[in-house]
C-alpha cells in the first residue's frame, strides 16, 4: 500500500470539535461585517424605510449704504467784479445773488461780506438691495452752525435753512433743520438726494451797528448728517 501524505488525511474538523485558526478569523470577519451592515451608515435599515429630498438653494442677504459729496458755495449780492474771492471756481448764482464761487477747499481764505450766503450742498446717495428694504432717510443740519449764545455774533446773526430734494427732483419734507423721508427700495425711492443748507448772513443794511460788529467774525461750520434707519 503506497504511503499517503499526512496532509491528505488531515481531518476537516478537529477531533475535539474546535475550529482551526482560519475559521475563527473568518467567523469574526463575518460578524463584524454583519454588525457594520446593521448599524452603520451604509444605508441599511432594519425596518422599512423611505426617504425624499428637496433642494432648498441659497438665500442671500441684501445691503444698504450711504455715500455722498460735499460742496460749499459762496453766493454774493455785490455787483459782479466788485469784490474778490480766493476761489476762482464759479457756480451758478440764484437771485437775488449775482455771483457764486465754489469755496469748499478755500473756505478759510474767503472773507464774507454782510448779505453773503454760504450754501452747503450735500449730495447723499442711498443705495441698497433687499426685497423688503425700507426705512427713514434723515438729513440733519442742526449741527451745521453753532448759534448758541457763546457762538460768534456773525453766527448768531445768521439764518440757517434747509431744503432737500428727492432723486426725481421733488421736494422732501423738512421740519426746521431736519428732513425725514420714508423710503422704500421696492418703490424706487433709492438714489441721490440733495440737501442744501443755506447760511444767510445779515444784510449790510440791517442796521448800522451790524456792519462794524461783524468785522472779523467767524462762521465755524459744523456738519450735515445723513442717516438711514431701516424700519420693519
Amino acid at each position: 500500500m503506497p504511503a499517503v501524505p499526512a496532509s491528505a488525511v488531515r481531518p476537516r474538523h478537529r477531533a475535539d470539535g474546535r475550529q482551526g485558526p482560519g475559521r475563527v478569523a473568518g467567523a469574526t470577519l463575518a460578524t463584524v461585517l454583519g454588525l457594520l451592515l446593521l448599524t452603520s451608515g451604509l444605508g441599511t435599515w432594519s425596518e422599512w424605510h423611505d426617504q425624499g429630498q428637496r433642494a432648498l438653494g441659497n438665500i442671500q442677504a441684501g445691503s444698504v449704504s450711504l455715500s455722498g459729496t460735499l460742496q460749499v458755495q459762496l453766493h454774493s449780492r455785490q455787483p459782479v467784479g466788485s469784490r474778490s474771492f480766493s476761489s476762482s471756481t464759479t457756480c451758478a448764482p440764484t437771485a437775488p445773488f449775482v455771483e457764486c464761487r465754489v469755496v469748499t477747499s478755500s473756505l478759510a481764505a474767503e472773507r464774507l461780506i454782510p448779505g453773503d450766503a454760504v450754501r452747503v450742498v450735500r449730495d447723499v446717495t442711498l443705495a441698497g438691495n433687499g426685497d423688503n428694504l425700507r426705512g427713514a432717510l434723515v438729513v440733519d443740519a442742526s449741527a451745521l452752525l453753532d448759534r448758541a449764545p457763546t457762538a460768534s455774533l456773525l453766527a448768531r446773526s445768521s439764518a440757517v435753512t434747509l431744503g432737500v430734494t428727492r432723486p426725481g427732483g421733488a421736494a422732501a419734507p423738512v421740519s426746521g433743520l431736519v428732513s425725514t423721508t420714508q423710503v422704500s427700495r421696492a418703490a424706487g425711492d433709492f438714489g441721490t438726494y440733495q440737501a442744501v443748507a443755506t447760511i444767510q448772513t445779515p444784510l449790510d443794511d440791517a442796521g448800522a451797528p451790524w456792519n462794524e460788529a461783524l468785522w472779523t467774525q467767524v462762521l465755524d461750520l459744523g456738519s450735515i448728517r445723513a442717516t438711514f434707519d431701516q424700519t420693519s
Partner: protein, 175 residues
C-alpha cells in the same frame, strides 16, 4: 425452515399489515384539507412634492419666484413649503416621519434661524399611521433674520437639501 427465515417472513407480514398494503386499516380514519391562502406584504413609501418659497414678512405673503434673487434684510421671514405624502399599507404598520436639515453653511448662517416643522406643529417629527395614507402633510422650513441683526450684509446662506425620512416603527414583541 430455520429461525432466521421464519423471522423474515413474520416481519414482512407485519409491515404489510401496518402500511395498509391491500387497503385494510385497523381503525376508522378521516382526513381534511385546509387551504390557508396567501399572505401579502404591505408597503411603505413617501413622496415629497416640489415646494415653493414665500415671503411671509408682511401680513400678505408674497410668492418668491426665484429664491436666489431674493435679498433678505433684518426683519424678514421667508418660508419654504412643500408636502410629504406617505403611502403605507400594513395592518400593524406605523412609522415615524422626520424632516432634517443639514446645518446651513455660509456666513449668513450665523445671522439667521432656520426651523423645519410639520404642519405648523413646531416639531420636525410626526407619527404616521394608515390613517395618513395618501394624505399630504405640509412641511415648512422657515428662515428668519431678526430685526435686531446689524451684520450680514451680502452674506449667503446655503441650505442644501431638506431630507424627509419615513421609518417603520418597531412592532411590540408578542411573547
Amino acid at each position: 425452515m430455520n429461525k432466521s427465515t421464519k423471522g423474515v417472513i413474520a416481519a414482512v407480514a407485519g409491515v404489510t399489515l401496518l402500511t395498509g398494503v391491500g387497503g385494510t386499516f385497523a381503525n376508522w380514519s378521516e382526513s381534511r384539507t385546509a387551504a390557508p391562502g396567501s399572505v401579502t406584504a404591505g408597503h411603505l413609501t413617501l413622496t415629497v412634492a416640489s415646494g415653493e418659497w414665500t415671503d411671509i414678512t408682511a401680513a400678505t405673503p408674497k410668492l418668491i419666484s426665484d429664491i436666489s434673487l431674493f435679498r433678505m434684510v433684518p426683519g424678514d421671514v421667508v418660508e419654504y413649503t412643500t408636502t410629504v405624502t406617505p403611502d403605507l399599507l400594513g395592518d400593524n404598520l406605523t412609522a415615524t416621519l422626520t424632516a432634517t436639515l443639514p446645518a446651513g453653511s455660509g456666513a449668513l448662517a450665523n445671522d439667521v434661524t432656520v426651523v423645519a416643522e410639520f404642519d405648523g406643529s413646531g416639531t420636525a417629527t410626526r407619527q404616521i399611521t394608515e390613517a395618513n395614507d395618501d394624505t399630504a402633510i405640509p412641511v415648512t422650513v422657515t428662515v428668519t433674520m431678526p430685526f435686531t441683526t446689524t451684520v450680514g450684509e451680502d452674506e449667503v446662506l446655503s441650505l442644501a437639501a431638506l431630507t424627509v425620512n419615513l421609518v417603520q416603527n418597531a412592532n411590540p414583541v408578542v411573547v
